[in-house]
Structure formats: C-alpha cells, structure tokens
C-alpha cells in the first residue's frame, strides 16, 4: 500500500513530499515502528538494578546494608540482609528479564506486520478510484464505507514508475485524534487540491471489495489517528498496591517510633546502669549516653527491619503470577472453536478482579457475535421458523446456488415455497430485490454478498437459499434466479433508507411489464401505510411481531404494491425534478416517497437475530446479582443498542422506566437528566452528597466520592453520543453521574472511542470504584486503557483491543468466571496473604521490642541470626505461598454471586484490617515473649544445669514463634490441599532439621564463628518444660482467635460464613440457577435496525458503485484476506453448545 513512509512530533502543520526522503526526514516525524521493550543485553543489568533500587523497599535495604557495615551500629551480621536482598533482586530481575524478552518478541511481531499507517489515498483498483472499507476496528460500525481518491492522483493507477515519480507535496493538520475530520492540501504540479476525510484511509480499517490501492503515508506509528485515540498508557496499579505503599510508609513511621522508644530507653539505661556497669562492660571512648542512644536507634533500625518486609513485594508478585497462570490454564475459559485460551496479559492486577463495581462493555463483537441470522418469518399470517424438536438444518441441496452455511430449522417453509405458494414467493422475491447489497461471483455459482449491514446480508442470503437468488445488478436492473429461472427486473427507483423514514423501497418492472413497489421497514412505519384491506393480516402479523420482539429478534415488516404505469411515468418526472432541485431537495424527495409508499399490501415480517454470544444474558444476570453495574458503551445506533439491551436482559419490560436521553442542546440534556433523577428519587437532595477525602502517599491525593443513592424500583437509561458530549462537560458531569448511577442499566450509544474513555474516567473519578472495560475493537482501546482493568475479546480479526488489554479471552461469558471465580479467589488470597504476612512479621519483630527491655536496650537480637535470615525466606515462605495459591472458600461460587460483595467493599484488607493485624501481632508477641520469660525465670534443667542462657532462650523464643505462626496459618487456611499440608509440616520439619544441623558439632568445627549455637538444640529440646512452654504459648496465641472467630460466625455471620455453613449442611449443592431468557411480552419492537447511515441507494442507481469494467491486472501486492467472505457466514449455534456446565465439580 505504501509508497513512502514518513513521520512527526508536536507540530502545527505537517508538511511532506512524496518520494523525497531527505525532505521528509528533516522533520523527524514519528517512525512507524513501535517500541515497547526497555532493555537490551548490555543495559539490562545496570538499568534493571537502578530501577529496582528506586523501589522504596529495595533502597531501604541497601541503606540497611550500609548501616550494617558500621561496626558500632551493626547489630546483625551482614548475611541477614544480603541473602534476602540478593534473592529478591535476582528474582525480580528474572521476571523483568522474561517480561522484556516477551516485549521484544511482541515488538518484532507488531513491526513485521504489514505497515499500517494513515494514508492519503492515491489510486485504487476500483473505478473512479473508489475504495471500500470497513471501519469496525475504529468505530465499531460494520457497514461498508466508501473513500475516493482525487482524480489527479487516481491517474497514477498501479504503475510503479508513475508512482515513483509522483512528487506531490502535502500540507495537513498535525496528528490528532479526530476520526471524522481531516484537512489538508496536496500541491501537485503547482496546482493545489484540497484534501478531506474522504481521501484518507486510517490505520485500523479493513479494505473490502477492493483489490489494491496506493496511498501516501501521512501519519505513522504513534501519530496515526487510531493510536492517538488509544489514550495514554499508564502503568496500572491495583488499589491494594496503593494501600500497600501507604502501609509501608506508615510502617516506616511506626518503625521510627519503636526505634525511638528503644533509643530513649537505651539512653536512660546507659545513664542509670551502663555507666556503673562499666567495670564489666567498659565504654567505648567518646560514647556517652545520648550518643549511645543515637547509635542504638540505628542498630534497632537494622534489627526491626522485618516490619518493612522486603520479601513482601516479591511474594506479592509471585502470588499474582501464580494466580495469572490459573487464568491461562482454565479450561472453562478456553474457547475450542477458535482454539483460544484465556490470557492474563498483565500479571499484576489479579486481585482487583475481585473488586469490580462497574463494567463497561462494548456491544458489537463483545455482547454480540456480529453475526445476523435469519431466524423466523411470518408470511401471510403464518409464522415459520419455530424450532420443533431437535431437527437439524433444512436441506437446501435442491438449490445449487444455496449458501451452505445458511441454516434454517423449519422444513415447512421450504415445502411451501417449493409448492409455489404465491405469497411466500412474493415474500422472498421482495427480499431478493429490495436491498442495496452488492453481489460478487468470483466463480460460477459461488456468490458473495457485500452488504452494508449484516442484517441485509442475512435477509438476502435467506432469499437466496429459499430459491430467490439475487445474482447481479446494474444501475437499471436486478437479475434474480427465481426457483431456478433467471429473471431480470428493471430497476426504476430506489427509495433509500434514512433514519427518519426507517424504510426502503424499490420500484421494479418485471419481465412481464408489471410495475411493483417493494418496501421493507420498521413495522410501525409500514403499518401506517397499509391498505385497509390488510387489517386482519396486520393483526395476526402484529401478534407474530410481538412474539419475535419478545425473543429479542430484530424485525422488519414487508409490504408491496402494484403501481399503475401511467402514475409511475408521472411520478418519475416529478422525481427527476425533485432530485435536481436546487433547494429543499430532501424535503421534496421525502414528500414524493411518502406519496408513493401508500396503500401497501402486507406480506409479512422477518425476524433476524443479532446473535448474542453464548451465555450473555446469564452472565449479565449473574454479574448484576453480584452487584456489579454494567454499562454498555457502543458506537452503534440507539435502536440496535436498545434491542441488544433487551435481548441480553439488561433492559427489561418490568423495569419501572427506561429513560431515553437524546437532546440536542446542553440545556435540554440537563433537563432530561434532572427529570429522570427526580423521577427516580423524588425526595432526594438536589445537590449530590460528596465526600471529600485525601488518600495516597502523604495524603497528597484529593479525592471526591459521590455517595450511592438508593432508589426504589428498577430504572435504566439510554443516552446517545450527542447528548453524552454535552453531559460530559465539566458543569454537567455530576448530573450525568448521579442519574446514571441510580439506574440499573446504562446504555450509551453512538459514542466515540474517546467518549468511552471519558465515561470510564468519570466513574473512576467520582465513585472511587474499581472499573472494568471489555471490548474487542480498536474503538475500545481507549476505555480498556482508562479502566482499572481492561479485557479484550480475542480470537477475532482485530488485535488492537487485546494488545492493550490486561486480560483477554474469546467469549463474553467467560467474564463471569474471570470475576466471580478467579477475581474473587485472587482477591481473597491476596488479602489473606497480606494479613498473614504482616502478622507473622510484626509478631516476629515485636518480640525483639520486648526483649529490648531485658538486654539494656542494646539491640541484642532475641533469635539466632540464622533464624532471622531464614525466617521469611525458608521457614514461613512456602506455607504462606501455598495459602495464597491454593486457598479457596466456596468452590461453587457461580451459584452465590453475592459472595462477590466483600471485595467490592474492600472488606478483607484495608487500613482497619491492618490495624487489627497489628494489634493481634502485639498480643501474640506479648505471649511469645513473656510466657517463655516467666516460664524460664530462674529455672534450670532437670540435671541442674543452665537453661536460661541466651542461646537456649533464643531457641525457645524462635521455636515458639514459628509454631505459633504456623498454627495461625493453619487457622487461616480454609482449603487444605496436600500441598498445603506438605509445605506446612515440611517447613516445620525443615526448621528442626536446620537447627539440629546448624547447632551440630560438625558445623561449628568447620565454621566456628558462624555457628556459635552449638549444642543448644540438643540441650534444650530434651527438656519437658521447654516443650510445655511451647505448648502454652501456642495455645494462648491460637485459642483466643478460634474463640473469637467461632463467636463472630455465630453472632455476626458474614455472607461467606452463611454460604459455607449452608454448603456444608446440604453437601448437596443447590439447584443450578434458572436459565431464564424471559420472553418479553411487549409491544416494543426494534426498528429498522439494519443500517447505520443513509443507505447507498444513490450509488446503486448512479452506477458509480458498480464495476462495469474491472481493471483486471495482477495485483502488485497480494491481498490474502477475502473481504467478501467475511461478513456472510451464518453460523447457527445452539445455546447449550460450548456452554458452561452449571456446577463446578
């Protein structure tokens, strides 16, 4: 596609010249290559280390290490800090390294794809230099769009020489994110041509029906409109991350306070005791009490460093990684049809999946499959298409032009059509004639339809299979194979579709000379224009239409009318006049159309299914039971969006009211929003309740939270993009937010990618809730990036959404499992992990604090140095890892979506929970220090020898601690797999094995100074009172917790407790949730939903659209994707196929 690749930074105007590399390079425009990797082989080590030491915890440990090198301060051997630090650094380094290798690979992949950039269209294979494109990636619309090159550049055709000599100069706007606007000029041979959006192909669009085209790259790489629309990539951090940062900071403060207390203690001790004790412990020169206190402060900073756990961050990363792997491995999120497993692309956000409060979903391709199927029809008062029994698809083999992929279940319709029933035949004739579809017949009998919308394609394909094959068209004729017979109709007029008319008609003359007007359109519109003679049929058809609408199908009514040739002559004249009128052309044409589309005879109606993805309504039901609010943000038009809202149960008939906001001025929008709000909450305050608070590190972040407002009844809101633009203005956003958040369902239609992101940002800003955005196309990228969690639907054409997402999978319904199972478990595990981790480290550290009072505040450790080194790394590492990788509370979580709520409310880990943990640790440490202290006070061994020596006491204290924290872990574990058992018992065994080894004769003889605890284990662990002390401390640490938990479950049971109890009681799981697809008993029907914009009747009749003489020459660049084949496929899937089994085993 590309002649030259040229590129730019901030600029007021872009200026480039074709085929003039030097000139273009002088502007240093952005390269089309995308680089996301951070390191290369040489920079890896220094850069990575530099980055790692920017982390607070790592830098702190480096600082500690420096402190330890000062002998006056060093209260611990160097290895106690170096071993964990090296381990942590190398593990992080390994992870960063593998991440960067992945990024390198990804970059290579991205940059090796065919160059995608914003192009100025120069020439194409199609006549008049037209190019047909699909812009689904950009705006979600699936209809075809036409772009046309300038005639002057179109002359270049595909002649390489001409192209190479092309020296046009382009001046245009700087890179921006407006998809619908482009201004610039092309100067060629001293003539200036103006350039607009019509002449630009944007990155992300797909060529359809066009063999080749040439273009001049205007914007490349990050400058393309698509990338400009992608929003900025920010490093996503979870709320727990942020909380952790705050906590670590407060822990630093806490550490300083503890050290200060001990330092003051040391000062006092030195003053009162130390100075007199000098006979036995001489003072170092120049060390007086205050200076000693100062040194002690730092010594205690070293000893008590375990409150700032260096391994915390690493452990958290490991846990998240593990839980991400579970997502990758989950077969219940694997989609066999496209062989796509779920993928956790970001491995640092897992626990946030358990806290989602708002979901923003795209529609096309996310909720729906973007496949339309002709499902049912009502012809002359008889409904066809109801599936009876499990009969397969109807056999269309009698029709050699049938589309093999088409599937219809009702045999009777085929029989009727083959019998030659005139109404049925007329019905399909209408479908074959009244449309703007383009056919393509590459090989004899292999027809491809290029439809403006999938709806039209489905209808024409249905006609094709039932024996009315639309074969070809010219501006004046339509050729149809009717039950095997070739018939050519003369096309007299196309009365095109638009949003107001909601119908389209064609007027044709049959070979017999009969003039007929065929019309299809929204039922309400058609019904107004019927001949009174069909009133009976109208009633029956209305009934059927209601039925179809109740099933969530998109319906159209079909009608025809024979026209008097004389009248036609006259009408045509007037039509010609009107269409050439200089002013009020539209109105005049409309009036003419209105005149002729009258007194129609009803044929029946069609029902097309905009196929939802499997399980979408169930998923939405489950998610809303879990108190998650779902907003649909779609670029699609209002009717379509509403219809989908109904068919996936987001909008329901029983809802109290569905507000539609579609106003044209800011004031109207405000009024509509206010009216809606007052209706929902008549007695509510006019001003929103805003809680202002500060959060984040040093409370620098100011946050405003708008309180949830309760409403009676269920409401929904549909707002269109135009109104949304007003509503998102600064002065109205609060109004929008309040109103929208009162509704159960919010649907925003015709929104631009940027608006999607703005809506997400709005909710993020004022609700302080965790948001998730899910989408499949490039138009969703901005919201995927804006939301806390972005989910991409993978396995489809475009990869833009997946590439910028955090999680990806193939089907919307997997969202349920991602959130309710993986999310909840990840959250639960992370919270349990954090609580336990802080508990064990605080307990560990507090014991030191208490010992300070018994060692003259001299920063004497209460444990063996080796225990301090290995406590976090070996003795307690694996059991807590097992807890945070295997723990699960209720397996059949899908059945109890309510269990999701604690995550949304942040119940399991918060500042409050942290304070409780600290208090619990305080209690445990008191028990763990003072019980051994009292039990050992003045006592001796059973042979009269020493047992209260420092080494024995250290051993006792550390063993008590380890046993107590292990039992606490056991209490926190709800799900004891063999791995948990193995790790827990294994760690205790390893502890005993290690102490017996380290305290053995051999180790002492080899490394005399490193293992001074020789013999301590043997001498102390054979004493009954030592074991009795351990038993007492363990029981005293654990039983209060057991009692508290037991009473809490009885007195204030949580949802969790109740469900656990219930599951345990029944053992038999409760019945699967109802699979309801409530039939809408309503008169609400979809409109003429198949077109997004004015149809291209103009093009059809003008002939511009048609390829009379395709310029047939071999394509220079082979284009492999067959654009036509894509939109036509009709899959029919049963609802159970690939469905989720209701119960987790």
């Amino acid at each position: 596609y590309i002649i030259d690749v040229v590129f730019p930074p901030t600029e007021e105007e872009r200026h480039l010249r074709a085929n003039d590399r030097e000139f273009n390079l002088s502007y240093e425009y952005a390269d089309n290559a995308i680089k996301t990797s951070k390191y290369n082989i040489f920079t890896f080590l220094p850069l990575n280390l530099f980055e790692q030491f920017q982390r607070l915890a790592n830098a702190y440990f480096l600082f500690l290490l420096c402190l330890q090198l000062i002998p006056e301060i060093s209260s611990l051997s160097w290895f106690t800090t170096v071993v964990p630090l090296v381990l942590v650094l190398s593990m992080t380094m390994a992870k960063d390294g593998s991440d960067d290798i992945n990024r390198h690979r990804c970059d290579r992949q991205v940059n090796n794809r065919k160059v995608e950039a914003d192009l100025l269209l120069l020439s194409s294979s199609e006549p008049l230099n037209l190019v047909y494109i699909e812009t689904a990636e950009l705006d979600g619309e699936t209809n075809l769009k036409v772009k046309q090159a300038l005639t002057v550049t179109g002359e270049l055709e595909d002649c390489i020489e001409k192209l190479a000599n092309f020296n046009g100069e382009v001046r245009c706007e700087p890179p921006n994110n407006r998809l619908d606007k482009f201004t610039g000029t092309l100067t060629l041979k001293e003539e200036m041509y103006s350039l607009d959006n019509e002449k630009v192909l944007l990155r992300g669009c797909t060529l359809r029906n066009t063999q080749w085209c040439f273009g001049l790259v205007v914007f490349g790489g990050p400058d393309t409109k698509l990338m400009q629309n992608c929003g900025k990539t920010t490093l996503k951090r979870t709320s727990i991350d942020r909380l952790m940062n705050v906590l670590v900071l407060s822990i630093f403060g806490f550490l300083a306070v503890m050290c200060l207390i001990l330092a003051v203690g040391n000062g006092i001790w030195e003053y009162q005791e130390g100075s007199k004790f000098a006979a036995f412990l001489p003072k170092q020169e120049g060390v007086n009490a205050p200076f000693s206190a100062f040194l002690t402060f730092w010594s205690y900073v070293i000893i008590l460093n375990t409150v700032v756990p260096i391994s915390l961050y690493v452990s958290v990363e490991i846990i998240r990684l593990g839980n991400s792997f579970y997502i990758d491995w989950d077969r219940k999120m694997y989609y066999p049809k496209s062989d796509t497993p779920a993928e956790a692309r970001t491995t640092t956000l897992n626990e946030e999946l358990g806290q989602i409060k708002y979901i923003f979903s795209d529609k096309t391709g996310t909720l729906t499959q973007n496949i339309m199927t002709f499902n049912k029809c009502s012809i002359n008062g008889k409904s066809y298409g109801e599936v009876r029994g499990g009969k397969g698809c109807v056999d269309f083999s009698w029709n050699n032009l049938a589309d093999p992929k088409f599937c219809f279940h009702d045999h009777s319709l085929v029989e009727v059509v083959r019998e030659g029933n005139p109404e049925v035949q007329a019905f399909f004739r209408l479908l074959a004639l009244c449309h703007t579809v383009m056919p393509e017949e590459k090989k004899e009998g292999e027809l491809y339809y290029q439809a403006q919308s999938p709806d039209e394609g489905a209808l024409v394909t249905a006609a094709r299979n039932f024996g009315f094959v639309f074969r070809s068209r010219t501006p004046e004729s339509i050729t149809v194979v009717e039950m095997g017979e070739l018939v050519t109709y003369e096309l007299l007029a196309v009365l095109d579709f638009n949003n107001v008319r909601k119908r389209m008609s064609v007027i044709v003359r049959s070979p017999e000379g009969k003039l007929t007007l065929y019309c299809k359109g929204a039922d309400t519109i058609i019904f107004e224009r019927l001949n009174p003679s069909c009133s009976k049929l109208k009633e029956v058809t209305t009934e059927h239409l209601n039925e179809y609408a109740g099933d969530g199908l998109r319906t159209l009514a079909l009608a025809y009318k024979d026209i008097d040739p004389k009248y036609m002559e006259e009408w045509k004249l007037r039509h010609h006049e009107a269409s050439t009128a200089m002013d009020e052309r539209e109105e005049k044409l409309d009036a003419l159309y209105e005149e002729i589309e009258k007194g129609l005879l009803l044929l029946g109606s069609t029902a097309v299914e905009d196929k939802l993805q499997d399980g979408v309504p169930q998923t939405i039901e489950q998610l809303s039971k879990a108190d998650i609010k779902i907003w649909v943000l779609t670029g699609d038009k209002q009717e379509t969006a509403e219809n989908i809202g109904y068919s996936c149960n987001m909008l329901r008939e029983e809802m109290t009211e569905v507000f539609i906001v579609s106003a044209n001025t800011a004031e109207e929008v405000r009024k509509e929003l206010q009216t809606a709000r007052r209706k929902m909450r008549p007695d509510g305050p006019e001003e929103p309740t805003v809680t202002k608070s500060r959060s984040g590190l040093f409370c620098l972040l100011k946050t405003e939270t708008v309180a949830d407002e309760p409403v009676d009844g269920e409401y929904a809101m549909v707002i269109n993009g135009h109104s949304l633009a007003f509503a998102l203005e600064k002065d109205m956003e609060m109004e929008l937010l309040r109103t929208a958040c009162m509704c159960q369902t919010v649907i925003c239609c015709r929104v631009t990618p940027l608006q999607k992101a703005q809506v997400v940002e709005l909710v993020k800003k004022y609700k302080q809730a965790i948001t998730l955005a899910i989408g499949d196309g490039a138009n969703d990228v901005s919201m995927i990036k804006a939301a806390h969690i972005g989910v991409g639907i993978s396995g489809q054409e475009g990869m833009q959404a997946v590439l910028s997402s955090d999680f990806s999978f193939a089907q919307f319904r997997y969202l349920q499992r991602l959130l309710l199972v993986h999310g909840r478990w990840s959250y639960l595990r992370m919270c349990k992990f954090l609580r336990y981790f802080f508990y064990k480290n605080f307990t560990f550290t507090f014991v030191h604090f208490w010992y300070g009072f018994f060692c003259g505040f001299s920063a004497q450790t209460v444990y063996d140095e080796w225990f301090i080194t290995l406590y976090n790394l070996v003795y307690t590492a694996l059991p807590v890892l097992a807890l945070s990788l295997f723990d699960q509370v209720i397996r059949s979580l899908m059945l109890y979506p309510k269990l999701y709520a604690p995550g949304q409310l942040n119940q399991y880990f918060s500042k409050r929970a942290f304070v409780y943990t600290v208090l619990h640790s305080g209690y445990s440490s008191l028990v763990l220090f003072f019980i051994p202290w009292a039990a050992m006070y003045d006592t001796v061994r059973d042979d009269g020898k020493d047992i209260v020596d420092y080494q024995s006491f250290a051993l006792l204290a550390q063993t008590c601690l380890l046993i107590a924290v292990s039992i606490q872990l056991g209490l926190d574990t709800h799900y004891w797999t063999s791995v948990n058992q193995f790790f827990l018992w294994g760690s205790l065994c390893v502890y005993f094995a290690v102490i017996f080894t380290m305290y053995s004769n051999g180790m002492f003889l080899i490394f005399t100074s490193s293992f001074p605890f020789i013999g301590t284990a043997r001498n102390s662990l054979n004493q009954p009172n030592v074991w009795l002390t351990m038993l007492l401390t363990s029981i005293l640490c654990v039983l209060p917790v057991v009692a508290y938990r037991f009473l809490r479950i009885l007195l204030w049971p949580t949802v969790n407790d109740k469900v656990r109890y219930k599951v345990r009681q029944d053992k038999v799981l409760p019945p699967a949730p109802r699979r309801v697809q409530a039939r809408r008993a309503s008169t609400r029907r979809s409109g003429y939903a198949f077109s997004h914009a004015q149809g291209y009747g103009d093009l059809v009749t003008s002939g511009r659209f048609l390829r009379w003489t395709p310029k047939s020459r071999p394509a220079l660049f082979s284009q492999t994707d067959s654009p036509l084949a894509q939109t036509q496929h009709q899959f029919y899937r049963t609802i159970n196929e690939g469905g989720e089994p209701p119960l987790s085993p």
């Binding site: 694997y334 050992m936 047992i947 420092y950 039983l1039």
Partner: protein, 339 residues
C-alpha cells in the same frame, strides 16, 4: 455448521492442579469441634497444671542474699570494693532434710549479660584453642583485646574478663564443729561446651600456650591456673569458666556453682545449722547488682518455677469457662437458617 476438526493445540491441560480442583480437606469452626475442643484442652491443661504445680511445690529452694547491703549482714564489711581478700560468713539452719541431690547456685541480679556488646566481646576461635588468635584476638574483644603493653589478653573480651570469682565453702555445724560439706564441681557445664565448643590448645604443658599473652585484667590467676587441684580443669575447659561463658538471657540469673552429691550428703542436706564461708571478691554494688546463693533440688521439670503450673491452671480454667460461654451463645443464636 463447522465440521472440520477443531485444532486444540492451545487447550490447557486438564489436571487437578491447573484447574484448581486439587482434593482438599475443608475444616470449619463448627460447634461440634470447637466447644468439645475447648473443654478437652481445658481439662488437659488443668491436669498438666496440677501436675506442674505439685511438682514445683515439692522442690525446695533456699535463697540467701549475701551482697551485704544491710548493715546487719556479715558481708556488709566486704561490700567496700577497695577491701581485697575479704571473707564473710552466711549462717542458716535447716529444720528438715533438704532432699538431695542438692544444687548450689550463685545468683546475680541486675546484671546485663544480655547486653549485645558484652555478649559479643569474646573470641570464638581463641576459645576453641586456635593459637593464631592467642596472638591477635578479634577486635570484638576490645577494650580487652590487648593490655597497655599491647600484649594480647587470653581469654580476651569483657565476658571472660568479668568472670565471677567469689568462692564458697559450706560447713555443717555439728556439735559446734565445722564439718566441710563436699562440693562436686565436675560436669556442671554443658557437655557440648566442655567437649566441643571450648578447647585448650594442644600444647603441653598448657602454660606454654599462653606464652606472650596476659591474663584478663580482672583475673587474679591466669587461665591455666584456675584450678590448682585438678590440672585437667584448667584453661578454657574449666567448669566455672564454661558456666560463666554461657551468658544469661535475662538480667537476673543464677548459675550452677557446685553439686552436693557425695558422702554423708548424697541424700541431701540433713537438718541442722550450716555456715557458708564466702570469699567476697566480686563487686556488684557499684551498679546496683545483687549477689545470692541458692540451694535447690530439681525435678523432672527442672528447677522451681511456679509460673508454668499456675499458667496452665489458669489457661485450662479459662478454656472451660470459654467453652461454657460459647455453648450458651451457640444455644441462643444457633445458626441463622435464612438465606
């Protein structure tokens, strides 16, 4: 319909681990476990508590402070630190047989052996008999690394330097005459300390190993002459030295001095009057310390310690009480049957 064979190369493995279906035990804090559990633990603790308490009650302990703070004390005269080679007497009488074997301890209070720099002030290599460290002791021993003449101190460091050096002789007053109660000073230190951790250099005579070194300043005799009566009880493996070097964890501690296991006293100290002769050398008054002697026998649970027994009794009773409370709460609230 799509009929072609579906490629499933990316399908995740179906294992219990990857699908998070590992079989597991899921215990719950149900009333059926918790309440009986508390009762059982409570009863068991009360049982252990009673046993410990009675055992502890049966242990006899006799403690005598001899710091000499009170003017009435015989040792008052020795409390002046300038007074060298002072001896004082401590007299006591036993009305019953003090059952043996009797252990004789000295105790120190407000004495911070647990101080970090105090504990670190020794040389493990030197004490394990490495002659290199006889010449250059580690710097941790400072200021007891070298003496004023830059001669290495062996054993170096504050810990060794401050070795307890009061000596005791116990006499039973039988009919007005003093009868020496024989002390057994063998095997009062840990076996590992005596055999592994502390070793003399393999130089005979031991004295030669100490050539070029000086004794700790606080010591009256060099290390190789600590026990003149038993040549094998000298140097770093001297039992008193070993006991001292096993530094105490807490500021109040007692250390084993001798055992009374021989002769007439094998079964204990008979009722009668006793006189303890103390060579009062060790100064503690300067830092508010106290010295005492302790006679004690031991049981299976070691020395006398009332705390453990009482703690077990209290915790046991609390468990039982708690189980009652839980039972009442349980009976009253049951489990909500709704939802």
């Amino acid at each position: 319909m799509m009929k072609e064979e579906l490629e499933t190369t990316n399908r995740p493995d179906n294992t219990a681990f990857t699908q998070q279906r590992l079989p597991a035990w899921q215990p719950m804090l149900s009333a059926g476990i918790v309440i009986p559990g508390f009762v059982l633990i409570g009863l068991a603790f009360i049982g252990i508590g009673v046993g410990l308490f009675i055992t502890s009650q049966n242990i006899t302990v006799l403690e005598k402070d001899y710091t000499g703070v009170e003017t009435t004390s015989d040792c008052y005269k020795c409390s002046n630190p300038s007074d060298k080679n002072c001896t004082c007497k401590l007299e006591f009488s036993l009305s019953n047989l003090f059952e043996g074997p009797v252990f004789f301890y000295y105790g120190l209070s407000n004495y911070f052996q647990s101080q970090r720099s105090y504990g670190a002030s020794k040389d493990e290599y030197q004490l394990s008999g490495d002659l290199d460290y006889f010449k250059t002791p580690v710097s941790a021993c400072s200021p007891y690394q070298y003496d004023a003449n830059q001669k290495p101190i062996v054993p170096c460091g504050s810990l060794a330097n401050s070795m307890f050096n009061d000596t005791f002789k116990l006499y039973q007053i039988v009919n007005g005459t003093k009868k020496l109660v024989p002390f057994d000073g063998k095997g009062i230190a840990w076996w590992t300390d005596y055999n592994i951790k502390y070793r003399n250099p393999s130089v005979t005579p031991l004295k030669n190993a100490f050539n070029g070194t000086v004794k700790p300043s606080f010591w009256s005799k060099p290390a190789y002459e600590l026990d003149t009566s038993d040549p094998s009880n000298n140097g770093f493996v001297n039992q008193d030295f070993l006991v001292w070097m096993r530094r105490a964890a807490l500021p109040d501690f007692r250390k084993l001095y001798r055992r009374i296991t021989e002769g007439d006293y094998a079964s204990g100290l008979p009722a009668g009057n006793y006189s303890l002769e103390i060579a009062y050398n060790y100064p503690v008054l300067s830092f508010g310390g106290r010295k005492k002697v302790v006679f004690s026998n031991v049981s299976w649970m070691g020395g006398k310690n009332q705390f453990l027994g009482i703690a077990y009794l209290v915790v046991g009773s609390l468990c039982v009480v708690m189980s009652m409370v839980m039972l009442i709460v349980y009976a009253k609230f049951k489990f909500p049957e709704d939802d």
